[in-house]
């Protein structure tokens, strides 16, 4: 937070409101049948909420580039682990001709 510009309590309150709305929305959305979009919607909302927390509650919006890179790296590596593992599981049933 050396790079200044501080969030105010008002901003925090707005974020809180957004998070609550997001939670209610996830909850409601889970009961509408959207087929395969149910998990997609749920995860989209979750990601949005997480981003809000990271950006504002955790002050990343006001932090150095290094912090931003660090966080992106974390999620990027997680993505590597998930996609590369699934690359095995999702293609296992195919037999080569």
């Amino acid at each position: 937070m050396s790079e200044h510009g501080h969030p105010t309590p008002k901003l925090y309150a707005i974020i809180l409101a957004c998070l609550v709305v997001g939670t209610v929305l996830t909850y409601r959305a889970a009961f509408w049948d959207m087929g395969i979009f149910n998990p997609v919607v749920a995860l989209t909302i979750a990601c949005t909420k997480a981003t809000l927390v990271i950006l504002f509650f955790m002050h990343v919006r006001y932090s150095s580039k290094l912090t931003k890179i660090t966080i992106s790296a974390g999620f990027f590596w997680l993505l590597i682990m998930i996609t590369m593992s699934l690359s095995d599981y999702l293609t296992r049933t195919f037999l080569p001709q």
């Binding site: 937070m1 050396s2 501080h6 969030p7 105010t8 309590p9 925090y12 309150a13 974020i15 809180l16 998070l19 609550v20 939670t23 996830t26 909850y27 889970a30 009961f31 509408w32 049948d33 959207m34 149910n38 998990p39 749920a42 995860l43 909302i45 979750a46 909420k49 997480a50 927390v53 990271i54 504002f56 509650f57 955790m58 932090s63 150095s64 290094l66 912090t67 660090t70 966080i71 790296a73 974390g74 999620f75 590596w77 997680l78 682990m81 998930i82 593992s85 699934l86 599981y89 999702l90």
Partner: protein, 256 residues
């Protein structure tokens, strides 16, 4: 201590010897915390990856398992945790501004909400115990060897039956079969929420320590790094829950 207005040119009592300035110290500490959170992402990430693979593999059993946990309590807990994140953010803000009293109250608020979360979690765990949904049976002895649950009547089959009664689309799955696959769901449920709750407990400890120091008035605009770091940790734990809630509680609720 905090009332004496030290400037960065003088030696602040909280400045460690290896650092040149308070600013460098705060920068390094905050960055260190982020790097630590990176490891936390990967640690939970391992669980998430495994969870995802089994969710694809045993989707129906995961639906059955998910349906058996109380979405109401999960929803409540999500709100509680979000609220605690808010009070934590406010505590950091108060520390930064040097409002000692506000800071103490916000920290107390965070702890109360955190405790409420853990309380609800304990209740949920207890319910699972009563329903014989604790995974980890000793092979051949049934779902839960300790809780007085019988070996041949795993209740998960009943859940699957209930789901089936309401929705004929759900495939018929035998009780034993469901029990075994749902057990994997519950293994993930307890591993993930357990690891999360463990982090909450540690966070609770951190908060108590911060509260004590805040009460003594150690934090102010010059030095509030510990509160900031505690906040980062607490928010991270909140983020994990933001993902856990839909992944564990809301798998295809439309079928119920």
């Amino acid at each position: 201590m905090s009332t004496s207005q030290t400037t960065t040119t003088e030696h602040h009592p909280a400045l460690a010897q290896q650092f040149d300035s308070m600013e460098q110290q705060q920068d390094a500490s905050t960055f260190g915390m982020w790097v630590f959170l990176l490891t936390e992402i990967m640690m939970f990430g391992g669980l998430f990856t495994a969870y995802l693979i089994y969710r694809i593999k045993y989707y129906d059993a995961f639906v059955a398992g998910s349906t058996s946990i109380s979405v109401g309590w999960g929803f409540t807990n999500t709100l509680v945790l979000i609220g605690s994140s808010f009070t934590m953010a406010m505590a950091v803000w108060a520390a930064q501004k040097g409002f000692r009293k506000a800071q103490v109250w916000f920290l107390i608020g965070t702890m109360v909400l955190g405790a409420a979360f853990l309380g609800v979690k304990a209740k949920e765990y207890h319910d699972k115990w009563d329903e014989c949904h604790i995974p980890g049976h000793i092979i051949g002895k049934g779902f839960n060897a300790w809780g007085g649950c019988s070996a041949t009547d795993p209740k998960l089959g009943n859940i699957a039956d209930e789901i089936r009664e309401r929705d004929p689309k759900v495939p018929k799955v035998s009780a034993v079969q469901t029990a075994k696959q749902t057990e994997i769901f519950f293994s993930f449920y307890f591993a993930m929420t357990g690891l999360h709750a463990f982090h909450m407990v540690i966070g609770f400890g951190l908060l108590s320590w911060l509260l004590w120091r805040a009460y003594k008035g150690e934090f102010g605009p010059q030095y509030y790094t510990p509160v900031e770091l505690g906040g980062l940790y607490w928010h991270f734990v909140d983020i994990v829950w933001i993902y856990l809630f839909p992944l564990l509680y809301l798998i295809s609720r439309t079928r119920t």
